[in-house]
């Protein structure tokens, strides 16, 4: 299954998703595609006007440019996601998108998709094992790619 993680650039969550046999939907891949696109010349991460325009499907034109840019980049992730894991209140080392309003709005957009979603709170290092266990339990009960095709078939 394609699992969207939040924070969308969290390496730790992406790793857990892959360990559970799913495909992680992460921002790094989206930015990677932008950066490798030879036709875009807007370093460092090649965010373009098109990304900002794409965000207008979800946010008003009056929103700050950085918020539009972030939502514009995240939108394709939303479209791909079949399930999601939202880890809230994690320290920046777990990945972050930086802008609190963009973060809050993106979580809202994930909930709007009505896909299977686990919302879990980071409660410090001492409870990390419990947190990881909770995430893994959610992930392993989700059908794998092959299983979905079999069911569909």
């Amino acid at each position: 299954m394609k699992i969207l993680v939040y924070p969308p650039n969290s390496l730790i969550l992406a790793d857990l998703v892959e360990r559970a046999g799913h495909e992680a939907v992460v921002l790094m891949r989206e930015i990677g595609e932008h950066v490798r696109d030879a036709e875009i010349d807007a370093p460092p991460i090649n965010v373009t006007e098109d990304d900002l325009k794409r965000a207008l499907r979800y946010v008003s034109v009056e929103e700050p440019a950085g918020l539009k840019g972030r939502i514009g980049l995240l939108t394709p992730l939303l479209d791909k996601a079949e399930a999601s894991v939202i880890l809230s209140d994690a320290p920046p080392t777990y990945g972050c998108m930086g802008c609190a309003v963009a973060d809050e709005f993106f979580k809202f957009l994930i909930r709007q998709r009505k896909i299977p979603t686990l919302e879990i709170k980071y409660e410090g290092k001492e409870k990390l094992e419990e947190t990881v266990k909770g995430i893994m339990e959610f992930l392993v009960q989700l059908p794998k790619e092959g299983e979905i095709s079999e069911k569909k078939g």
Partner: protein
């Protein structure tokens, strides 16, 4: 290349980072992100005394703290998104934090997805001048015979200076920039009773400076922010300590904070023509008075009246409606002056702390009604030095005498 810290909350997401880097390179600036460890974010927030909801804004504060620890960084560019309230609070807090602890020039900018290249260029160029020309900008006296040309967007000003005094001047509307300069030079030389060959050096500033500089074979060509700050210090004879300069010209305005006569933080207008001299020109036309008499007319006002908009179109429409409703001309003139002062206050002065004394220069400083509105608004006396319209020309004439 001069190293300048880019302290932002993620400008790259606005899609304008490439433009910033490109312009910076053109003016000789290398934009660097000050190094900082993620573990230092908490400590930095505590040191600055503010914690934001957005993680990147907290990171921005940590970068500000790191900036002070890096002696190779000579200036700072603070960026957050336009209309982001939390970003604006953090940006202003950082500016004050850095300004209290260092002399490095700092500029702030609110980025939008389609910034005007000229706006960014003007800011970064001024920042580069303030860093690289510091020794020249320390000059406090004009020597010999020099000429200063301020080729502005609305008027062209030329002064000839001799031993720290203005001995000749030319001031006329800018039409064809080169023809206007030639006429200004002629007027200034005639006034001084000097011939062109007697002028030892020529300096040029203002919007048209690139073109004019080649035309007159100038010895020095500098952007307006550093030059106006210097010219204001010279005209008001205040070279030491902190000060604030409000410069309102025909088509744009600047707010400059100075220390020892050198700009170290500034904000540029240019978003709306309603805060420029052009608005007052149109207003005086509708009031059927010469622009030079508008200020005096405004001072006669006895009843407070407000225009309904700052806009050059709708503000003037409100002015016309006011006249048609029987509001007295002097009250309408005062309202026009207040409209300009209010907009400069709301868009620029509010963003920066005011460091007294406050000096008002540029063509609009000659309109007494605007000075009065600023004084009432800020509750302090505003200084308008003699020849305040020549701040740019005097500044560049003085600086070029140091070359």
């Amino acid at each position: 290349m001069t190293r300048v810290a880019q302290i932002s909350c993620g400008t790259e997401y606005s899609g304008i980072q490439w433009l910033l880097s490109d312009i910076a390179e053109r003016v000789g600036i290398e934009l660097v992100y000050p190094e900082m460890a993620l573990s230092r974010i908490d400590a930095a927030c505590k040191e600055i005394g503010l914690r934001a909801e957005s993680p990147s804004l907290n990171m921005m504060m940590a970068r500000a703290v790191s900036t002070l620890a890096d002696p190779t960084i000579k200036g700072a560019l603070l960026l957050t998104c336009f209309k982001c309230s939390e970003g604006t609070i953090v940006k202003d807090t950082i500016r004050r934090y850095l300004s209290d602890r260092s002399d490095m020039p700092i500029i702030s900018y609110s980025n939008v997805e389609k910034p005007k290249e000229i706006e960014l260029y003007a800011r970064l160029e001024a920042l580069a001048t303030l860093i690289t020309r510091k020794a020249l900008l320390m000059r406090e006296k004009q020597e010999g015979i020099t000429m200063g040309i301020d080729s502005g967007s609305s008027t062209t000003k030329v002064v000839v200076m001799k031993d720290d005094e203005i001995v000749g001047e030319g001031w006329l509307p800018t039409t064809d920039p080169l023809k206007s300069v030639d006429k200004g030079i002629e007027d200034a030389l005639n006034g001084a009773g000097l011939k062109e060959k007697e002028v030892e050096a020529i300096g040029v500033t203002g919007h048209g400076r690139e073109l004019v500089s080649k035309h007159v074979n100038a010895d020095l060509n500098l952007e307006e922010v550093s030059v106006v700050a210097k010219g204001t210090a010279l005209l008001s004879k205040r070279h030491k300590g902190d000060a604030t300069v409000i410069d309102i010209g025909g088509m744009n305005n600047k707010l400059i904070l100075t220390r020892d006569g050198i700009a170290n933080s500034f904000s540029l207008g240019g978003i709306c023509g309603g805060s420029s001299g052009r608005f007052l020109e149109v207003a005086s036309h509708r009031l059927d008075v010469d622009i030079s008499e508008l200020g005096q007319l405004a001072l006669k006002s006895t009843e407070r009246h407000e225009l309904q908009s700052y806009c050059m179109v709708f503000g003037i429409q409100s002015l016309v409606v006011s006249l048609a409703s029987g509001v007295k001309r002097e009250d309408v003139a005062a309202a026009a002056c207040r409209s300009v002062a209010n907009q400069v206050y709301e868009n620029q002065i509010q963003e920066m702390e005011m460091r007294p004394p406050i000096t008002f220069v540029g063509g609009v400083s000659l309109i007494e009604g605007v000075k009065k509105e600023f004084e009432e608004m800020l509750g302090v006396d505003i200084i308008v030095p003699p020849n305040s319209q020549y701040a740019g020309a005097v500044g560049i004439a003085t600086l070029v005498s140091g070359i």
